[in-house]
């Protein structure tokens, strides 16, 4: 009796919890349930929501205002995510998994496209939903496609640039070996020679892939299978490991993300720096910068010519769960017009996806790195396009980090990388 007395309210609580669990559904099990959704709402028009990470330089808001003024019945609401890529990714996954119709158009990092497409969350941009990509730089279109189908509209691009000291380097290096031969200049000036981003994070995947691609290798072959056991891949990885071992890459570089490496370069502690275009604006304007007037820019060094940059940037994708896909497609087209792309570039320093804009005189005057960046993006190789990207990037980071630090031979690191990627793609 006493037990019953005691248990009554507690049991009520328990029953409530169980009822809740009943409506929760199976949880995270993903499915290809998107295939039905992909044929629905194609003609739908009405208000939509555009989801993107932090709008750093206030470009999206004015654009949306402009759109809304012209389309009073199809207004776009801006949903801003945090500035952290990981959190943006997880937020999108949560919403797609819940089949949320509230996320109509999402800005997707180039490396997530394949994963989201394979999960059936992105509307294929074909047939009725087709988008003209002829004016766009080819690598940006490749990065927005999966299995030869376009799943997103390239929105902004990004590529690596080799910054160097104009005062110390008379002619910029074209190949990795040339650059390494110039390290004596760095030594004479008591500074580090070269650095990229070698902390164990996404930036290391970028740098390691660039090393492998620039030496003529590839992380994944055309079928998406790992191809790291080639002499080219080995040469690329060995370049980094050797440079770190002989001090051409300073020892602190394994703690560098973008900002730390930029700072070292701006302080005059590096001769060469691999980084993104944003460095140009800061290095030429920041009060503490010691390289304001001696900042040189060139394409990344490769084996015999320009190296292969990793591709950055975002694409705009339509959620299969959207109810207003016709409006969404119009909005995608709006994001890729020359006018919008120019606004992205001038206002937000975002690299355009339209090739023609790189020759635009006004733009080049404002953003002098554009010609170099065009070379970089034209030669860019998207980071591995695979639905298993989260596992692939971990495999690259883990093993490249060990190889650079010298804890593992280059051969062992590449073989472990190969096996890890094979295992990840083997599924369960």
């Amino acid at each position: 009796m006493k037990t019953r007395n005691f248990l009554l309210p507690v049991a009520t609580a328990g029953v409530l919890a169980l009822t809740l669990s009943a409506c929760g559904g199976g949880g995270g099990g993903s499915s290809s349930g998107g295939s039905d959704a992909a044929s629905q709402g194609l003609d739908g028009r009405g208000p939509i929501t555009y989801v993107q990470g932090k709008d750093n330089s206030n470009v999206v808001r004015p654009l949306i205002e402009k759109w809304n003024a012209a389309h009073p019945n199809e207004k776009v609401t801006f949903k801003e995510q945090t500035d952290q890529a990981d959190q943006q990714h997880d937020d999108l996954v949560q919403h797609f998994q819940a089949k949320d119709a509230g996320y109509d158009v999402a800005s997707v990092d180039v490396v997530w496209t394949a994963e989201f497409a394979a999960k059936g969350w992105l509307q294929p941009l074909k047939d009725k939903m087709a988008l003209d990509t002829s004016a766009m730089l080819k690598p940006t279109v490749v990065a927005a496609s999966y299995k030869n189908t376009l799943y997103a509209a390239p929105e902004s691009s990004d590529g690596g640039i080799l910054y160097y000291r104009k005062d110390l380097v008379p002619t910029p290096p074209k190949t990795w070996d040339e650059m390494m031969s110039m390290c004596s200049i760095a030594k004479a000036n008591n500074m580090g020679c070269y650095s990229g981003q070698f902390k164990k994070y996404e930036g290391l995947t970028v740098n390691a892939s660039e090393a492998i691609n620039s030496a003529g290798g590839a992380v994944l072959d055309a079928d998406g299978k790992p191809s790291l056991l080639t002499p080219e891949a080995k040469a690329g990885m060995a370049n980094l490991a050797k440079a770190y071992a002989d001090g051409s890459i300073p020892k602190e570089a394994i703690t560098f993300q973008e900002e730390e490496s930029r700072q070292a370069f701006q302080d005059g502690k590096l001769l060469f720096l691999r980084n993104w275009p944003y460095v140009y604006n800061l290095a030429t304007t920041e009060g503490s910068s010691k390289v304001k007037d001696v900042l040189g820019m060139t394409a990344l060094p490769g084996k015999d010519g320009p190296g292969a940059s990793s591709l950055g940037g975002h694409s705009a994708a339509i959620s299969v769960y959207s109810k207003n896909k016709a409006t969404a497609l119009d909005f995608l087209k709006f994001l890729t017009t020359e006018e919008t792309q120019k606004f992205f570039a001038t206002q937000g320093s975002l690299a355009p996806v339209l090739g023609a804009l790189y020759e635009d005189k006004d733009l080049v005057a404002k953003l002098p790195y554009l010609p170099v960046l065009k070379t970089s993006i034209e030669n860019a190789v998207p980071r591995p396009v695979t639905p298993f990207y989260p596992a692939v990037t971990k495999a690259i980071q883990e093993n490249a980090y060990s190889a650079i630090k010298g804890e593992k031979t280059v051969d062992a690191a590449l073989s472990d990388m190969q096996k890890s990627i094979e295992s990840a793609s083997a599924g369960q």
Binding site: L20, C23, G25, E259, T285, S349
Partner: protein, 299 residues
């Protein structure tokens, strides 16, 4: 001089010496206390000092390592509160205060009930209940997000205040219940008994006699609860909307003017602003905590 006076003088000298040693020892102890206090202050405040100094530094000199403030500017604070770039920092501060207050009050209220039952009442399954409450703080927080997200989506709670408040209450409850239970154990319950002899019901005895005595413990627990809710980030980052996001999420979404740039100076400015209300809170309530605790000590 008589022997008596000599003895008296010696005794006095002896006492003087004794007092002096005692005084010296006292001084020495006091001195040690101050040295320790200074060490504690440095350990706790030095990194916070660096946060404040960085907060006042021009963004172009972010990595300046002069110990004293250089390139002082208020720009970072302006950036933090500037709403034109979509930072909702002011709103987020209010959200955090609101969420934190509700969480603290509600979790204390129901936590005190539970703690009272666990500390004072006889019933079966007590171990089970204690184990259950403790078990609730053992699951990795990161793994709670997905189920909660789906649950709140299903019942249409996404982006609401209650979607942030209820998880927070559950996170602080186990700690609240355990600390309150351990404090209740130490209470002089004889007073409750005598109040009941005087004709109070158990409930009245609890309210009128025990609660005032428990005030310091409750304040301590309240601070623990408030700060832990104030610090919560993981759940809020996924379940909040622009209108309800707390300050931790707002800070995480601080961005530099350039992509890839980490605006350390603005983040530190925001950190400084966020810390101030809590320090004020503690300073205001700390007199209460001390007074209450001392009163409680003199049983």
């Amino acid at each position: 001089m008589t022997a008596a006076t000599t003895a008296a003088t010696e005794l006095r000298a002896e006492q003087d010496r004794g007092r002096k040693t005692a005084q010296n020892r006292e001084k020495w102890a006091q001195g040690r206390t101050y040295i320790s206090a200074v060490v504690i202050l440095i350990w706790c405040l030095a990194p916070a000092y660096w946060m404040v100094v960085t907060a006042f530094r021009d963004v172009g000199y972010t990595y300046d390592t002069s110990i004293l403030p250089t390139h002082v500017t208020l720009d970072n604070f302006k950036t933090a509160f500037d709403t034109s770039f979509g930072n909702h920092f002011g709103q987020a501060l209010l959200n955090s205060l609101f969420i934190g207050s509700v969480v603290t009050v509600v979790s204390l209220l129901i936590g005190v009930f539970a703690a009272y039952a666990l500390a004072r009442l006889n019933f079966k399954f007590k171990y089970l209940v204690l184990g259950f409450i403790l078990g609730a703080s053992m699951f990795p927080g990161v793994a709670l997000i997905t189920p909660l997200f789906q649950l709140f989506t299903n019942i249409g709670w996404m982006g609401t205040y209650q979607a942030l408040i209820i998880p927070n209450i559950s996170f602080v409850l186990p700690l609240t219940v355990y600390t309150m239970t351990s404090f209740f154990r130490e209470m002089p319950w004889e007073l409750e008994e005598s109040a009941r002899v005087d004709g109070c019901t158990q409930g009245q005895a609890f309210r009128k006699v025990i609660m005032p005595l428990a005030a310091p413990a409750i304040f301590t627990t309240a601070i623990l609860a408030f700060i832990s809710s104030w610090n919560e980030f993981l759940i809020a980052s996924q379940l909040s909307s622009d209108a309800t996001q707390p300050v931790t999420v707002a800070i995480a979404s601080f961005a530099g003017a350039q992509p890839n740039q980490i605006p350390y100076t603005a983040i530190m400015a925001a950190g400084t602003i966020v810390t101030i209300p809590l320090v004020i809170l503690v300073l205001v309530f700390q007199r209460k905590i001390v007074a209450g605790l001392t009163a409680g000590a003199v049983k």
